[in-house]
């Protein structure tokens, strides 16, 4: 009896120490810890991000290096290249239909989101899901952090073209 309770207690105390030690130290954490208060200040409460419906249309351009993306008529050659990149790097988590798997199904995504938002989400997913209201709502819904797949800016543009073609 005595042994067992002290054993469990030891496991607890040790764990608290570990959490305390690791929490702040780890992390591209600089971003994580800094962004949390900033995001709170902006939105005044966590609830505001919960109010965002990820299925609804949004005009947000997101957070990242793409601030303005030119789009014209669909470039089929570029879309084909994008299909190759998508299969290699995105298809483990995303379908191009309505089917939700690990991440959202991407049918209609170019109607729901701005081109800038899509390209920022592809290249800067961690920051997007911490700071962008839609990104935060998506993380809250799917509970899985998307990770950057080492796609170049050109490849990112090709994926966008592929998704646009998919939504035609």
């Amino acid at each position: 009896m005595k042994i067992s309770t002290s054993f469990i207690r030891a496991a607890f105390i040790g764990g608290m120490a570990l959490l305390a030690a690791c929490g702040p130290s780890n992390g591209g954490d600089k971003q994580a810890t800094e962004s949390a208060p900033a995001a709170n200040a902006e939105n005044s409460s966590a609830a505001s991000s919960a109010d965002v419906d990820p299925a609804a249309k949004s005009d947000s351009k997101g957070v990242g290096k793409f601030t303005s993306v030119e789009i014209g008529t669909i470039d089929n050659a570029m879309a084909d290249k994008g299909k190759g990149v998508f299969t290699a790097k995105c298809s483990a988590c995303h379908q191009i239909t309505d089917q939700k798997v690990v991440g959202p199904g991407l049918k209609g995504v170019t109607k729901r989101r701005t081109p800038e938002w899509i390209m920022n989400q592809i290249t800067n997913p961690v920051e997007m899901e911490q700071k962008d209201p839609v990104g935060k709502a998506l993380l809250a819904k799917y509970l899985t952090q998307m990770s950057f797949q080492n796609v170049s800016d050109d490849e990112t543009r090709q994926i966008l073209e592929y998704l646009r073609k998919n939504d035609q």
Binding site: C22, S25, T87, A92, D98, K100, V101, Q149, N150
Partner: protein, 403 residues
């Protein structure tokens, strides 16, 4: 072990394996075709929570209890196992329909409490009986320590949410506290402990105390490999690397003195030993930042790593122990199913790891999802086969008794 089969725990465990495989098939199916009315995230959480409670914990815990239980504790062990079952099915249903909400949180908490209760009963039993060798004793205590320790992850989620840190790296890392200490701490050490008890008890070439201690406690800093995804400072990689190397060294030392005996182990256990070795090597490699960045960005590798541990280590050990305990009965059928299980698991893991590796050298395998679905269906059939043998095995036994 008779009291366990009388308590019908092994049927329930076998049934859990089938249920798990069914969920695996449905999840894989959703990667291939549209399945209406089902929520992938909910089912994924149901699958993983049920795997931890209904299969891994139930299986390992009943086998460990079977090794030490003095008569007066048996009833209490059965309470613990039944509480586990109740929470496992509670989680399965509530996660499937509702996701991470009130009901599933209640059942998850109930599961954690059952593991505390089990740990307490086990520690008391250890005091009352002295059947375990020193090595097995250390490993079992280590496994139970991490079992309790892992619960800090989920317990921290509440406070972190209140602090407004939901969705941050810290929140994610708290979830990984649970995953790491359950998988690498509790499950792996408990599996090794069971093998130790069954095949290496009082073996003269058993390693020295420090080797076991290193194998156990290197798991504490090894937690850092689960934080490498967020690309932390260099020293985090360094400490994770040292921990992984320590873990690898200890595992190497344990195997070294036993070469001849390892070759005589049943096939399932050879597979488990190979899987532990591969897993230990992989986790050392991901501490090299270039490799780590690649591995953590690819979901198939992460899924592969988890299933290397669950399908490659934990499940073979439980199945072999079931056979040793006489739950399956003897026979050729078991060998055939074991063989199929090994081939299928191997194929499944090879696809998960090789596809990302080929991508590195520019070869893109167009679509591996149908193959993964097919393998998961065949694994389900294996599960049904095992369940059938559990039922047959015990009906034969009871016939023999009645004759």
């Amino acid at each position: 072990m008779d009291w366990i089969s009388k308590g019908r725990c092994h049927y329930w465990a076998g049934g859990s394996f089938v249920v798990l495989a069914v969920f695996g098939v449905v999840l894989r199916l959703m990667h291939v075709t549209f399945v209406p009315h089902l929520n992938y995230t909910f089912l994924l959480h149901a699958h993983s929570h049920f795997a931890f409670a209904g299969w891994a914990f139930l299986g390992l815990a009943m086998l460990l209890a079977g090794r030490v239980s003095p008569v007066q504790r048996r009833r209490k062990f059965l309470y613990a196992l039944n509480a586990t079952l109740l929470s496992a099915y509670g989680m399965l249903v509530s996660f499937s329909f509702q996701g991470y909400k009130t009901v599933s949180i209640i059942f998850s908490t109930f599961f954690i409490l059952s593991t505390y209760y089990f740990t307490r009963q086990f520690l008391k039993s250890l005091k009352e009986t002295r059947q375990l060798s020193k090595g097995a004793r250390q490993l079992t205590l280590g496994a139970l320590f991490f079992l309790c320790f892992s619960s800090l992850g989920p317990l921290a989620l509440g406070p972190l949410m209140v602090m407004g840190l939901k969705g941050t790296a810290v929140y994610q890392d708290a979830i990984y506290v649970y995953l790491h200490f359950q998988l690498n701490g509790w499950m792996q050490l408990a599996a090794i402990a069971l093998v130790e008890i069954t095949y290496f008890n009082m073996c003269p070439t058993n390693p020295q105390r420090w080797v076991y201690q290193l194998l156990i406690w290197s798991n504490l800093p090894l937690y850092l490999i689960f934080t490498l995804w967020s690309n932390p400072a260099g020293w985090v990689f360094l400490i994770a690397g040292i921990a992984a190397t320590g873990n690898l060294t200890a595992w190497f030392m344990i195997c070294r003195g036993r070469k001849a005996r390892l070759l005589k182990l049943p096939l399932l256990l050879k597979v488990a030993f190979l899987a532990i070795t591969l897993k230990t090597v992989f986790q050392t490699l991901v501490c090299i930042p270039v490799i780590g960045r690649w591995a953590f960005s690819d979901r198939n590798i992460i899924i592969g790593y988890i299933h290397l541990l669950t399908l490659g280590i934990v499940t073979p050990v439980i199945l072999d122990q079931f056979k040793q305990a006489g739950f399956f009965g003897a026979g050729k059928k078991l060998q055939i199913i074991n063989g199929s299980y090994i081939v299928l698991t191997l194929a499944y893991l090879v696809i998960l790891f090789v596809e990302p590796a080929l991508k590195l050298v520019g070869i893109i395998v167009q679509d591996v999802e149908p193959q993964l679905l097919l393998l998961s269906i065949l694994l389900l059939l294996c599960g049904v086969g095992y369940f059938g043998l559990l039922i047959l095995g015990s009906s034969k036994k009871s016939k023999a008794v009645s004759v």
